[in-house]
Symmetry: D2
Subunit: 472 residues, 4 copies
Amino acid sequence: MLNEVKGLNEECGVFGVWGAKNANYLTYLGLHSLQHRGQEGAGIVTNDNGKLNSYRNLGLLTQVFYKPSLLESLKGDSAIGHVRYSTAGSNKIENVQPLLFDFTDQQFALAHNGNLTNALTLKKELEQKGDIFKSSSDSEVLMHLIRHSDKPTEIERIKESLNQIKGGFAYLMLTPDSLILALDSHGFRPLSIGRLPEGGYVVASETCALDAVEAEFIRDIKPGELTIINDEGITVDAWTTDTKMAICSMEYIYFARPDSNILGINVHTARKHMGKILAREQPVDADIVVGVPNSSLSAASGYAEGIDLPYEMGLIKNQYMGREFIQPSQELREKAVRQKLAAVKGVVDGKRVVLVDDSIVRGTTCAFIVKLLKDAGATEVHLRIASPQFKYPSFYGIDIQDRKELIAAHKSNEEMRQQFGADSLEFLSQEGLIEAIGLKYDAPYSGLDLSYFNGDYPTPLYDYEKNLSEDF
Amino acid sequence: MLNEVKGLNEECGVFGVWGAKNANYLTYLGLHSLQHRGQEGAGIVTNDNGKLNSYRNLGLLTQVFYKPSLLESLKGDSAIGHVRYSTAGSNKIENVQPLLFDFTDQQFALAHNGNLTNALTLKKELEQKGDIFKSSSDSEVLMHLIRHSDKPTEIERIKESLNQIKGGFAYLMLTPDSLILALDSHGFRPLSIGRLPEGGYVVASETCALDAVEAEFIRDIKPGELTIINDEGITVDAWTTDTKMAICSMEYIYFARPDSNILGINVHTARKHMGKILAREQPVDADIVVGVPNSSLSAASGYAEGIDLPYEMGLIKNQYMGREFIQPSQELREKAVRQKLAAVKGVVDGKRVVLVDDSIVRGTTCAFIVKLLKDAGATEVHLRIASPQFKYPSFYGIDIQDRKELIAAHKSNEEMRQQFGADSLEFLSQEGLIEAIGLKYDAPYSGLDLSYFNGDYPTPLYDYEKNLSEDF
Amino acid sequence: MLNEVKGLNEECGVFGVWGAKNANYLTYLGLHSLQHRGQEGAGIVTNDNGKLNSYRNLGLLTQVFYKPSLLESLKGDSAIGHVRYSTAGSNKIENVQPLLFDFTDQQFALAHNGNLTNALTLKKELEQKGDIFKSSSDSEVLMHLIRHSDKPTEIERIKESLNQIKGGFAYLMLTPDSLILALDSHGFRPLSIGRLPEGGYVVASETCALDAVEAEFIRDIKPGELTIINDEGITVDAWTTDTKMAICSMEYIYFARPDSNILGINVHTARKHMGKILAREQPVDADIVVGVPNSSLSAASGYAEGIDLPYEMGLIKNQYMGREFIQPSQELREKAVRQKLAAVKGVVDGKRVVLVDDSIVRGTTCAFIVKLLKDAGATEVHLRIASPQFKYPSFYGIDIQDRKELIAAHKSNEEMRQQFGADSLEFLSQEGLIEAIGLKYDAPYSGLDLSYFNGDYPTPLYDYEKNLSEDF
Amino acid sequence: MLNEVKGLNEECGVFGVWGAKNANYLTYLGLHSLQHRGQEGAGIVTNDNGKLNSYRNLGLLTQVFYKPSLLESLKGDSAIGHVRYSTAGSNKIENVQPLLFDFTDQQFALAHNGNLTNALTLKKELEQKGDIFKSSSDSEVLMHLIRHSDKPTEIERIKESLNQIKGGFAYLMLTPDSLILALDSHGFRPLSIGRLPEGGYVVASETCALDAVEAEFIRDIKPGELTIINDEGITVDAWTTDTKMAICSMEYIYFARPDSNILGINVHTARKHMGKILAREQPVDADIVVGVPNSSLSAASGYAEGIDLPYEMGLIKNQYMGREFIQPSQELREKAVRQKLAAVKGVVDGKRVVLVDDSIVRGTTCAFIVKLLKDAGATEVHLRIASPQFKYPSFYGIDIQDRKELIAAHKSNEEMRQQFGADSLEFLSQEGLIEAIGLKYDAPYSGLDLSYFNGDYPTPLYDYEKNLSEDF
């Protein structure tokens, strides 16, 4: 899946540090390894002996921190950081996180991965009370609830507030004296905690960020958990006990980095299993197996092993493609698109190709890739998708909230096959996906959120109920 | 092989267009797909109805042409372009190509991929005559020779001059009325010509650049060939008939893009063969096969197929790593290095790993990668190199001219193995390499330049003879 | 007065447009001519058929809008804009104005020139109610008050809120259907309204911005006035009738551009009168009169005319001095300072010089300038200041809130003269200043705020009372 | 005269240092004070113990050296630097000076202020010998001549070469062991030498640059002089004795900074005299005198004193105007022009104004400025030009080589007056100009080049003879 084209985007990655020298640079490293989770904005808040300092801006992490002095000015030994994807309309500096609040009596920073399903309702209620929101993101609602809470302690205020918000969230909160982590009651988004060899704790959306700072993995944060890290150590509490694991299956299928482990399952390995099971479920008589780089390479190699065909590099992704690329006039547009992805003629010419993709969301690039392979001489292109048909929008932190955009919601396999110009098109079954990931929770679908594929949302949708209608 | 670390660098890529609208943008696309051949500078010269216009600067192509107006100002229907790698000392704007010469009576532009072995001698002779060089690159010498030639026609002057220069070169020359291509007498560097569907010709260092503009491959330029393209079509001439094919083997092993074909051989396929033959020559009892991304993935998958072990993504390259990355203080240096490459714990933990790399030049990263895998739980790491021991410097266009830097020139396999911390270390044989590439020329080593491995240089070395001494 | 050194800074300039095509560009032009009022940040909000759009950033206007597309994206036929000076500590993007509030039911933008004296008290009260502030500037308080107001109409809510804030303010507010202007009850800050030749209205901190868009001056906004401009025209209302004119005298002395008229008085002319009256009050036997460029040139030419001595260009300001200037190591620091200002040896050598400066605040550059002149050969330097001794801080919109920094608050004339190395030092009297400006209001000091010089603040100081103590 | 509009541009400023620590930073300071002489490009070459290092680029000095490391990398205790104006067509990095030549046996750098009148002829001759030019500037010719010379010593080779070039030149040459200065035989361009208080010598186009580094003025370089500065001190030699002083009168009138002294005459003082004598020659009955900022302010104050009228700031130049200013669509063009210059209504309204400008070249802004004043209420505008009618192009280093562009070459005073909409228009006489400057050389026009006004060129024009024809 080419994310630049397909437009399925994770909304965030979060990273936190407590009790370590160079918290600024550790956070920079951690966020750098989470960059795939959001490329639109980045920021870091550090705690310098009780004074919180912030820097954030639009762009990639290395663009935001384009000179060392910006990072160096963020002193302190604890920090939280955020990388953000944002929808076009709200690509504003105001929405880049972490959000830092400078109250006259306190400072408080938060970073959020996920999406609240009742944010709009809460926001309207709060505005009725005179509240003013500084961002258009849903993440800020939590801060307002905390400030309105009458509970005597900050932790109680936070707990009360977490019980009012719905949807998917992994929150990092930084105060002058602690780093606080909260996960929603279904654990939609991953969040793991580790220990630095030099002392101190780190927390991250993916374990690849723990590795990036050479931290030792301790454990995954559990649904409903509220964890406080401060100079006395780690305190594990819960804001709710009404929990049921439903981790986002798309993390395994597409979002996460292959070297991350989610709930103990390695992502590359899960993808390879998806490919292998897909080969078992949907075999085809062909010469070679090719994956769409980079996210489908694991599944493709699994398919190749499963069906015992050569796994070949039939498509090349240009590693120098970036936003700075000058878009051409209309007549040259197709040539420019070919800059992103090239077929390897010497590999596919005269061959019957199994093309493995991790998923189909809008389906806008499939026809292009099939044509690329056929133009390069492939005699047949059999499309195999290593996940089920993506038919339902997401409301827990992925940027696709509109059924109209989802091709599988509206077209049959055969209609899609024709549109893509493929010789065959098959998908992994839901059972195959569950088997491939191999989670063993006593929860629906073994603890996975498969609502993308079956519409079985683990929670009420509140403000988003309407988005499921056919008109959306 | 991690090129940022190992420092083996191609010195250039060239691209040319004749007779096509949007020559500027076509050249931009072509150079973009050749960016892997040089990241230090880029430039384009276009021919606007007989007036040559130029823009060039230091940096990546997209950094040089950071705004559309820079590209749009280069009007015309023919062009040449260049991407350049340069050694640290000469990283100056003056050396960025194409070089455009504004004589009072003529304009002349040239772009050069390769390295001349008698440039210094010629330069001194020319300075004796009062000549002044505008760049410190060797490429400019040809222009001076042409201007000093007494021959009556330009083509004769060019031929006479080409007979005076030695070494490796693929020259593109642009004048107000023609595009001229010249290849050295051994064809050290690849150069291919294609035809645009909309009419007009393109020429490029690699066929991937022909594909990038949807041009149809016509043929490879031959050693000693001088080709003139103008409004009357293509005229194939020769500046010498004393030729012997000796294409650079490192193009197949490391430099070229996997989707390019060189002399009819697909690069990915050749690499996969190298891996397969290496598996046959140097098998090992292990659990999984892992390649160093990205250049060794083809060879690794070949090795896996050859030995019938699973091919796994045991190492991940961070695609967001760039020059803007802020380097940390010394104490965090090792963590920063881990940003470039990460081991996939979930894959390698508890496994005996065959680690396939395409080549070892300086050997500076091998120990790091082996440690990365062992830290991630690999119980054994068997290093397999898909090319022979790299013992001799290069003088035909690759930036490594000093024997002292070449680890295999000074250490035995066993010494290297110990230094790297690997459980075993083996290389592909020279015969295996020849077989894998599969060229069938009636020339030494089937038409390959293998001097990197055997010191058998196809030409005298002139100014560089001394570099072969032990002190260098 | 060299503003880069002395650090007396206006905090803002505001500009608004209603009912004109190209509101974005008109605002850009208007703000450009107000750039002297604030160089730290700039922003524009436009109203595009009821949808408010915003862009703002740190830096000069031309740096913020560094490419045309940023301006072009702000469509609409009404707009407000802001240029901002900010104290070092709060130089954050969050504080750059206009502030745009996206409520779920409404959008509202505001831009503020001035300073509220009870902002901290109000902010604490509002936070008690759960309010959260997005900026650390005082300007945002008004929005919160408006949202908390129970009044039935927006205008009534605004009026009620204006009655709660104290200090100096000129507010521009933009809603989907109107542009609203409010001035404090003393008219501390100037605000004028004009009519565009092509139709539509503009409002600006200074009349030079009306001229910049070729608007015809209509009138100055009055203390306590609330003016609503919408498609039905201009409605002049008042939020209070308890008003007393006290326009900031430093606008005439230093801040405003010489081509602006404030309350009908031309600024250059007022300054020239200050110089003339100073010559009458404090004559001196000398050869030439020199002004400190650029702000003191008017006063210097007035002094020269008054005393009938030649007015000479004895000091030159380098017009290329900017922030990008590389600061040298310590040993070269004094040479670098000389880049800003140079003495004209050929003019001052052997001469007795009257050096006219508009004011002395911290006094940090006086000694440097006197030395510059003496090094250039001046035999005597008589310092004449075209305003009284600046002894009291400002709380109505000028960035100097600390008595300790004010040299005249702590030193006698003779002490200052010695410190500066001048041969004599005299100031304009308060009566002379009043006469020079020539306002004729039936108010203390003829309608001028002279608190800088006499400590007679027109309002209670609320949160700033403590700043008047000797310790501050 | 608004230089952005009128387009009369000095082509360069040069600065050199010998024998001083921080030669890089001293050169930076010196060039910064010469920035008014050229804003298109800047560069510095330093001599670091015999190794010459260079950095140069397009843009203002502070844009070229946009980060300290660029300056810091230029180590050494001698240096030459250059700021450049360039005509549109040749605004290329190749032409930015100093030019540094890296011969295989030597390094040599040169910086040139002026223009050679036989450069094209020499260039063609040299190209016949096979020479290749790296720049399109005339400055490079000297280097080629030196390299072709057969003389035994470098100084003799330089002398022989200087005798072959014609026109106006002030050359700074830097070699590993000396700094060499050469001035043409008429001294068209100023060049002065000074001594640093900390030891070492500096040389600069204007004395303001000596002041900028606190150097003590020693003397002006004489026509035909060749000066060698090295570790043994200063050696004054001559490359010709056939000399006759003819310093460019436009240096006094417009180009030089007011604080510079040229041949002992202060520029501001000379301009004030021009204004005074103009008042004597061309008085007018009026109310106030206004100068066009900034270059005409000295002359205007002289006129005011001469005729005993008030000198007023009737026009304001916006100090924030820069290249980054976004140009508007056509309909708003006139408003944007007003950003550069504004009339002070409060000053000129109802007044009869004498508008003093230093010179009229193309005359493109005069009508605009007259209209500006009349729109602001001036009842009469009497234009007084503090130099004679500019009728002849320049070939010694000023960028105006085409008679067609010169309004006074084609129109009578009355025709110009009508075109500008002025109530009267008068110029300073040639005799008045000579008297105002007050040079006392035994040479035509007292040692001034007045060819702009009278066509009496001190030298043959060689390649430019044709430019004097009516068609040009």
